[in-house]
Amino acid sequence: MSSPAVSSYYWKGFRDSAPFVLVVGPFGMLFGVLAVEAGLKLVETLTLTSTVFAGAAQFTALQLMQAQTPILIILASSLAVNLRMAMYSASLTPYLGAAPLWQRALAAYLMVDQAYACSIARYETDRDMTVPQRMRYYFGTVTPVGIVWFLGTVAGAVLGAQIPESLALDFALPIAFLGMVIPMLRTLAHVTAAGVAVTVALLAAGLPYNLGLMVAGLAGMIAGARVELMLRRRGTWT
C-alpha cells in the first residue's frame, strides 16, 4: 500500500502546513464561541463544523442567522463565500484528476485554503511527483489544519460562556477576514475587485435579506475581471 517514498510525501505535506495551525486554532475556537452564543447546541455546532468544514462560510452563515435572514439567502451568501473552493478545485484538477474517484471525493470534502495553497505550490515546483504522491502530500497538508480546526471549535463551544465580553470578540471576525484578504490583493485587478465590492456593499447595505452582499460580490468580481482584461490588452498582466 504505502511504499516509503509515497508515505514520506504525506509527512512533507504535514510539515508544510503545520504552521497554519496558529491561525486555524484560534479561528476554530472563535467559531465555537460565536456558534454557542448564537444559540446553537454543541451537537449542531460540531456537525456544522465537521460536515461543512469551511470557516469563512460557517462564519457567514452565523452572521446572517443573527440578522434573521431567510434561509435561502443564508445558503446563497455562504456558498458564494465558498465559491473560491470551485476555483481551487479547478486549479487542482490537472494534478489530481487522474486519481481514483473516492480519493478525489475525499480530497474535495477536505479542501481548505491552507491545503490548497501548500499543495499547489508544491505541485508547481516538484514537477516529477506521481499522482499517488500528490494525493499523499495533499492529505498530509489537510491533517494538522483539519484536526486543530475541529478541536478549536470544540474548545470554543465548551468554554464559550466563560469568555468575557470585554474581549470584544464581535470584532475578531472582521479582523481575521481582513487579515486573510489583504495578502491576496496581488494585482490592480484584485485591489479593484475589493474596492468596488466594499463600495457597493456600503451603498447597498439597505437592501433586504442581505442581498447587498451578493450584489457587492458580483460587482467586485465583474470589476476584477474587467481590469484583468484591460491589463492583458496592455500587456502589463503578470
Binding site: 491561525v23 452564543e37 448564537a38 446553537l40 460536515t51 461543512v52 469551511a54 452563515a61 434561509i71 443564508i74 445558503l75 455562504s78 465558498n82 465559491l83 473560491r84 470551485a86 476555483m87 481551487y88 478545485s89 479547478a90 487542482l92 484538477t93 484528476g97 478525489r104 471525493a105 474535495a108 470534502y109 479542501m111 465580553e165 470585554s166 470584544a168 464581535d170 470584532f171 471576525l173 472582521p174 479582523i175 477576514f177 481582513l178 487579515g179 486573510m180 484578504v181 489583504i182 495578502p183 485587478a189 484584485h190 475587485a193 475589493a194 468596488v196 465590492a197 466594499v198 457597493v200 456593499a201 456600503l202 452582499l213 457587492a216 458580483l218 467586485g220 470589476a223 476584477g224 475581471a225
Partner: protein, 120 residues
C-alpha cells in the same frame, strides 16, 4: 464600549428544523463546489471568462462582508467607533506591508485592545 455584543443581544435560538436544513444544505452545497471540477470536469477545459470571474470571488465577497461590520459595528449600536475603525485600518496597513496573514491580524488585535483599554 457598550457591553452588548451583537451575539448575546440576538433573539431566541434558531428554530432546530430550519437550522438542520441549513446545515445539510451548506454541507451538500459546499461539497459540490469543491467536487465540481476535480470530480466532474476532470481534464476538460473551462471557459476562460468563467475562470476570470471566479479568480476574484474571495477578494470581492470577503471585503464586502466585512465593510458594514467595520462602519456600523453592532456592538456599539451601529455607531462608528474609533477602536474598531483603527483596528481595521491597522490590519489593512500591516497586512499590505508584510503580505502576512498573522502579522495583519496581530496588528489589528493589538490596536483594538490598546484603544479599548485607553478609551474604556
Amino acid at each position: 464600549m457598550t457591553e452588548t455584543s451583537p451575539l448575546t443581544a440576538a433573539v431566541a435560538p434558531p428554530d432546530p428544523t430550519t437550522l438542520w436544513i441549513l446545515i445539510i444544505g451548506l454541507a451538500i452545497g459546499t461539497f459540490l463546489l469543491r467536487f465540481v471540477f476535480v470530480g466532474f470536469v476532470g481534464d476538460r477545459p473551462m471557459p476562460e471568462w468563467l475562470l476570470r470571474h471566479l479568480r476574484y470571488t474571495a477578494v470581492a465577497i470577503l471585503p464586502a462582508l466585512v465593510a458594514p461590520l467595520v462602519v456600523w459595528p453592532a456592538a456599539t449600536g451601529g455607531q462608528l467607533d474609533l477602536p474598531r475603525t483603527a483596528a481595521a485600518a491597522a490590519t489593512i496597513v500591516a497586512g499590505w506591508i508584510s503580505k502576512n496573514v498573522l502579522i495583519g491580524i496581530g496588528a489589528g488585535a493589538v490596536t483594538l485592545y490598546t484603544l479599548l483599554y485607553l478609551l474604556g
